[in-house]
Each structure stands twice: as structure tokens, then as C-alpha cells.
């Protein structure tokens, strides 16, 4: 019923892992703990460019489009090293993680040649337009529409909670191309939209602690060419769901609060209380287990499997872990751990307490995930 066969890491990944570590120890030497705590929302255009030069973006893409034809497991190793180090990967993150794969699966030759090489260089940034003002978890109720016109499609509507939108050059948007009264999942399509097009207005939104990682996009009579349609008209729903299933179980699903663990280990006094010792044991146990689970799903995906249920399980457990971490650390602080407000530990903790509610919202809420798991078990 539940397949979590452990992944056997190829023995040669150790070399790659070492290369990434050496690169990061130089590149990130000046980064502080609180900066690293931003994980995959940390933005640094120069860093993304350098990572592209190391051939660590678009690792699995074909060489003819600027990719490097490495395996899924090699990519996994690079990603987990980047996240564990707190590298600022936000600029290229979505292009590398999702949009490139979507283009390769559904994009035509023109789009692949035009966009993928620049994405692999870490210079072309993407965002994903799914949620709207009145369509969040109920994604099929989106209202943004594309109408066929002379020379392409005219798009009207608005997207909301779009991560990276203020810095992205391109957006892959899910829009309605027709209405099917009998099938609400029908009539949806995906388009590639150049955010510098006339009629596009982008506004960043500050989150409750003042970070601006997401925003909204207003689309008013935005004309896109025919070639910008991804896949087939009307297949948007299944295309999007395949994408979401793939992005549920990577290392980013349990490492968002990782910085706090190293900060804690650095700050604990020589003779800590059992409360702190036992908490460290709990954290190590959960993190090790989650990593085994995540790698198992990665292994199944790389062999062409379809572990939708398992991936949803990893994401929900991972988000619970990431959210629980700042809570238990806050509860356990005492004389054997520094609680100075100027300390790196305190600042990382404070940031993560406030950032962590998003961990079970982004990319599908906890409630949606548990529904998927229940469905996988035959309950609905």
C-alpha cells in the first residue's frame, strides 16, 4: 500500500557533493545565519549566475538546450547541499525546479531554444501564476481567461500570491480557455507570459514580517502568441497536477528550518540539560527519517514511478517538522543555550517563527494534501 523502498545513493555522488560544498564554503563565506535562514526565498542574482556557470542549474535538461543531462539523484544532492548551506537560490529556483520541466514536457521547439539556455545560465527567472483572488485551494475556479484572437490569445484577469513575481521575467499561468459546465477541470490551459508585455502590471505584497517574496499580477488585454500555449488547449488541469505531484517531496520540503538546527548546535553549552539533549535527539531522528523518505520518492520518480501518495505524505510530514522546529526550540531555551536577542540563534528563531506558517500553505495546503492521501487510500 505504501512504497518507501530506500534509495541507494550511487557511490559516485560523494565527489559531486564535495565539489558543491567547496564551492559554497567560498561563495557563502560572508553570509550570516539569519540570511541563510531565508532558505529558498533568499535572492542573489550574482550567486545564481555563478551556479549556472558551475552547471548546477538545469542539471537534468538536454545539453542542446543548455542543460547538463545529469541524473535526478545528482540533482537531488546539489539541491540538498544548497539548502543545507542556506544558499540564496530564489532567483533561479522556480525556473530550475518547475518551469524548465514544464517547458520540456509541454513546450514547443521554439520555446525550448528561446528560453532554456538562459534559464540554465541562471539569468532568466520564472514565477507560476496559479492562485487568484477568489481561487486558492479551489484552483479549478480560476477566472483569468484567454480568448483566441488574430495572431494569438488575449489574456485578462489577475493572479495572486505569486512567489518571486517582482523579480521574475516570465510567468507560466493557468487560465481558462473555455467553459465546460459538466467538467470544471476541463477548459483550462497553461500559457507562458513575458511579464514585460504591455498590459501586465505587477505589485509586490509584503508578508506579515515585511518580506516581499510574493505578489499579484494584473493582466489586461495581454496579447500572447500561439506558440506560448503549453501543451494542448484544455489540458491545463492535468499538466498542473502532474507538476504539483513532482514538486511535493524534494529536500526543500523538510529543510526550510534547517538553519535553526545548526544555530542550536553552535549555541548549546558544554554540559546541556537533558531537555536540550533529548530535543536534539528528537530532531535528528525526524530529520534523518524525512530525508530517507524524500530520497525514496526521488528514487521512485527517477525510475519512472508515480508515487503521488508517497510524495504528498513526505510534504505534509516535512511541513509539520519545519513548523514544529522553531516551536520546540523556543520552548526549550534556557540557561544552557544562549538567548541573547543579538545572537544569531535568536534572530533565526524569530524569523522562522514568523515565516513558518507559510510552509503548510505554499504549493498546496495541508488540507489539500491530506485529501490527496485519503484518496490514495481509497477513502474518497
Amino acid at each position: 500500500m505504501l512504497n518507501f523502498t530506500p534509495l541507494k545513493m550511487p557511490s559516485d555522488v560523494g565527489v559531486l557533493r564535495q565539489q558543491v560544498r567547496e564551492f559554497l564554503s567560498t561563495e557563502l563565506a560572508a553570509m550570516t545565519g539569519p540570511q541563510r535562514a531565508h532558505s529558498w526565498s533568499g535572492f542573489d542574482a550574482e550567486f545564481s549566475r555563478k551556479l549556472g556557470q558551475k552547471n548546477w542549474i538545469g542539471m537534468m535538461w538536454p545539453q542542446k538546450y543548455g542543460g547538463h543531462e545529469r541524473s535526478a539523484i545528482e540533482r537531488y544532492v546539489v539541491i540538498e547541499e544548497l539548502l543545507a548551506a542556506g544558499a540564496p537560490v530564489a532567483a533561479h529556483w522556480i525556473a530550475d525546479r518547475q518551469s524548465g520541466a514544464q517547458l520540456l514536457r509541454y513546450g514547443n521547439e521554439t520555446l525550448l531554444q528561446r528560453y532554456l539556455p538562459e534559464m540554465a545560465r541562471g539569468e532568466l527567472y520564472f514565477c507560476i501564476g496559479m492562485s487568484e483572488p477568489n481561487a486558492g485551494s479551489d484552483l479549478a475556479s480560476i477566472k483569468t481567461i484567454a480568448q483566441r484572437v488574430e495572431g494569438g490569445w488575449l489574456i485578462n484577469g489577475a493572479k495572486l500570491w505569486t512567489t518571486n513575481v517582482e523579480r521574475a521575467h516570465m510567468m507560466i499561468a493557468l487560465v481558462r480557455t473555455s467553459k465546460d459546465e459538466k467538467n470544471r477541470h476541463g477548459g483550462l490551459s497553461q500559457f507562458l507570459i513575458d511579464l514585460s508585455s504591455p498590459g501586465v502590471e505587477v505589485k509586490g505584497i509584503s508578508d506579515h514580517q515585511g518580506e516581499r517574496d510574493f505578489g499579484e499580477v494584473f493582466l489586461t488585454d495581454v496579447l500572447v502568441a500561439d506558440e506560448m500555449l503549453l501543451g494542448n488547449e484544455g489540458d491545463g488541469w492535468s499538466q498542473v497536477n502532474a507538476e504539483l505531484a513532482l514538486e511535493r517531496s524534494g529536500p526543500e520540503r523538510y529543510l526550510s528550518s534547517y538553519r535553526l538546527i545548526e544555530e542550536l548546535l553552535t549555541s548549546v553549552a558544554d554540559d546541556p540539560s537533558d531537555i536540550v539533549v533529548n530535543m536534539m535527539g528528537d530532531i535528528a531522528s525526524e530529520l534523518w527519517t524525512l530525508r530517507q523518505m524524500s530520497m525514496s520518492v526521488a528514487g521512485q520518480l527517477s525510475q519512472g514511478g508515480n508515487p503521488t501518495l508517497e510524495a504528498a505524505i513526505v510534504k505534509d510530514l516535512g511541513a509539520c517538522f519545519e513548523q514544529n522546529l522553531p516551536v520546540i526550540v523556543q520552548a526549550a531555551l534556557g540557561e544552557d543555550v544562549s538567548i541573547d536577542r543579538d545572537s544569531s540563534l535568536y534572530q533565526v528563531l524569530s524569523y522562522l517563527l514568523r515565516a513558518s506558517p507559510a510552509f503548510s500553505l505554499r504549493g498546496g495546503t495541508r488540507e489539500i494534501l491530506r485529501g490527496i492521501i485519503a484518496k490514495g487510500m481509497g477513502l474518497r
Binding site: M1, L2, F4, T5, P6, L7, K8, M9, S11, V13, G14, R17, E80, A84, I261, E262, E263, L265, T266, V268, P272, D274, V276, V277, N278, M279, M280, G281, D282, A284, S285, E286, L287, W288, T289, L290, R291, Q292, M293, M295, S296, E310, I313, D316, L317, E367, L369, R370, G371, I373, A374, G376, M377, G378, L379, R380
Partner: protein, 343 residues
């Protein structure tokens, strides 16, 4: 292949519900296990065994939990593994494992006599032999005894009614005795891996039973499985079962490669934590019927409660693991965590 055969056998053994646990040594249930050579998973093929590894043993351990089979199959398997590592020939029949801190060895050269107290022995009064780890003559020793020589100081049962006995031996004749460096901790780690795998099996068994129950039981005119509150509780249950199964499989694989002290510690702790969450969900989903003696839900839940505290409870493993991680320090944490997967 192994999984199918063992699954079928355990299902047959449990076909009439939970068997009586008295007089285990002469129980007709044990003979098919012995006939199949199931306790010889680790024995090389050249010596008539399976030539198996820990990942094969996991399959057996997991199915023991899945079927809630009340027999010391896992204990015997691990006792034989320890005996083999100490180069002692294994006897046939049931064997359990114990640890003694006040061991006294005496003898006249021809035979060695053992005196000491061994507590909390699984199936202690019911098995034919017992393997004991102890420190004597300033060395860690492994010794094999005919358990009938022991007197039961007190008979205990675990939450599922399985024997967990305190035994006293007075000048008992030792069948064999060898030095086994690190033997006590090995026995603990192997047994913790056994219980983790059994917990993963019991979680999966109770998950399947709970899914079946909520699909069949109707209230308010529809099956319980159609209520979102119920669905989400079962999703959490599936997550716990998944985490423990994955951890136990990964730890078994690591143990095949090298001593997996960290992995087993992490796994037993994860398994222990799952017990509280899962038993609460499965009982809640079953309502009053699951609380009855007649219903089979307690086959799993009673064992889960027992296994959580056996061979290291949450406090023991979190403390041991925490001390290790803190000793290694921040700079080593990630490096060690990933090195443990890159085998």
C-alpha cells in the same frame, strides 16, 4: 518470495484468532516456523539457512507485527545472530535474549556455572534457551543456557499478555560461553531494530484494518470514510506508518553495510513516537467496538504500547542520539547525516 511465504504462514497461524500463549515450547504453532527454517535467516545457505541479511530479516519482523503473531520468532532470530557472531552453535527451538548485570561465573574447567538475575526476558519462562549478555572476568561475554534451569522470580506480562519474565539462575550449567566485545549494546541495537520493524508492521496492519472499518461503518447515512475529519485523521495515520516503515527499512539496509547505531537509534525513536499518535487514531476511528475484547484491534494496539518501552523508550533513545549529535557538533551534523545515506 520470502515475503509471500512468510505472509501466508503467519496468516494461517493466526486464522483462528489470537492463540493461547501458555506452553509455547510445545505449541503446535512453533513447528511450522521451525520447519520453514524461518529463524535461520542469517545462516549461510551452505549451512542450510537463508543466507539472508538484515533487509531480509526486516521482511520477517515486519510481518510479525502486521499479523501480531505471538511467538518469539524475532527474539530467536536475533539470539541466533548473536550466537553466530560469538562463534557459538545455535540450538534448535525457541531462544530469547536477556542481559545480566550481576553475573557470577564459576566452574571446575569441565563446565561453567552461571548465577545471576535476568529481568524482563521476552517469553522467558516459555522458551527453551536463553542467550545472556553479561560482563564477567572483566570481559563482555555471551552465554547460552537451557532456560528450564532458571526460576521465575516473577511472572510478568506485557500489555498484550505476552510473557516478560524476571528470572533467577543459581549455578546453572552454561551450554556455551564466548567473549563478545560490545555484545550488550549489539543485543540492544538488534532488538531495537526488531521492535521498530514490528512496530512498522503493526502500524500497517492497524491502518489497513482502520481503512476497511471506516469504509464499511455508516453513520448519518454515509460511510465514516466520507467525513473529512475522519479522512484527515487516517492521512496522519498513514504518514506515521510510512515514516516508521521507511526508517526501519533504511536502518536495516545501513546495518547490512556497517554498524548502524545512529540509524537504529533514530528509527526506534521515530517508531516509539508513532505509537502514541497511531494508537490514538485507530481507537478513535473504531469507536466502542474497537475497545472490546472480541474485536481484533487490540492485537496491534496492545503490542504497540508494549514495544514502545521495550529495548529503549523515547527518553532513552532521544538522550543517546542527542548526546551523539551534540558531541559531533554543528560542523559535523550535516556531513554525518548525508554520509549515512551515501552508502
Amino acid at each position: 518470495m520470502l515475503a509471500e511465504t512468510v505472509d501466508r504462514l503467519f496468516e494461517e497461524l493466526m486464522a483462528n484468532g489470537m492463540p493461547e500463549m501458555e506452553h509455547l515450547g510445545t505449541s503446535p504453532l512453533w513447528q511450522p516456523i521451525e520447519d520453514l527454517g524461518l529463524t535461520d535467516v542469517f545462516l549461510p545457505e551452505s549451512e542450510g539457512g537463508f543466507g539472508g541479511c538484515w533487509q531480509d530479516a526486516f521482511v520477517v519482523f515486519h510481518l510479525l507485527g502486521l499479523h501480531a503473531l505471538p511467538l518469539p520468532v524475532g527474539e530467536t532470530l536475533i539470539a541466533k545472530k548473536l550466537l553466530r557472531e560469538a562463534a557459538i552453535n545455535s540450538p534448535a527451538g525457541t531462544i530469547s535474549i536477556g542481559s545480566c548485570t550481576d553475573a557470577e561465573l564459576s566452574g571446575d574447567g569441565a563446565k561453567t556455572l552461571f548465577s545471576g538475575r535476568v529481568s524482563d526476558v521476552p517469553w522467558g519462562g516459555a522458551v527453551q534457551h536463553i542467550v545472556i549478555t553479561c560482563a564477567a572476568d572483566e570481559r563482555e561475554q555471551l552465554l547460552l543456557l537451557d532456560s528450564a534451569q532458571g526460576s521465575l522470580e516473577s511472572r510478568h506480562s506485557n500489555e498484550a499478555g505476552e510473557p516478560r519474565d524476571d528470572m533467577i539462575f543459581q549455578n546453572a550449567v552454561v551450554s556455551d560461553l564466548k567473549s563478545l566485545p560490545g555484545g550488550k549494546d549489539k543485543a540492544l541495537l538488534y532488538s531495537a531494530l526488531l521492535r521498530s520493524a514490528q512496530i512498522s508492521g503493526a502500524l500497517e496492519g492497524s491502518l489497513k484494518a482502520t481503512v476497511a472499518y471506516v469504509n464499511q461503518r455508516e453513520q448519518f447515512g454515509r460511510p465514516l470514510s466520507k467525513f473529512q475529519a475522519v479522512q484527515h485523521q487516517l492521512a496522519l495515520l498513514a504518514e506515521e506508518a510510512s515514516a516508521v516503515k521507511c526508517a526501519a527499512m533504511a536502518a536495516s539496509r545501513s546495518q547490512d553495510h556497517d554498524s548502524a547505531e545512529f540509524e537504529i537509534a533514530a528509527t526506534k525513536l521515530r517508531a516509539n513516537r508513532a505509537v502514541g499518535i497511531a494508537t490514538s487514531i485507530v481507537h478513535q476511528a473504531h469507536g466502542a467496538i474497537g475497545f472490546t475484547r472480541e474485536h481484533h484491534l487490540h492485537y496491534w494496539t496492545q503490542r504497540l504500547w508494549s514495544w514502545r518501552s521495550e529495548f529503549g523508550n523515547d527518553r532513552y533513545w532521544s538522550n543517546r542520539l542527542g548526546r551523539q549529535v551534540l558531541a559531533e557538533g554543528a560542523a559535523q551534523f550535516w556531513e554525518n547525516l548525508t554520509a549515512r545515506g551515501d552508502v
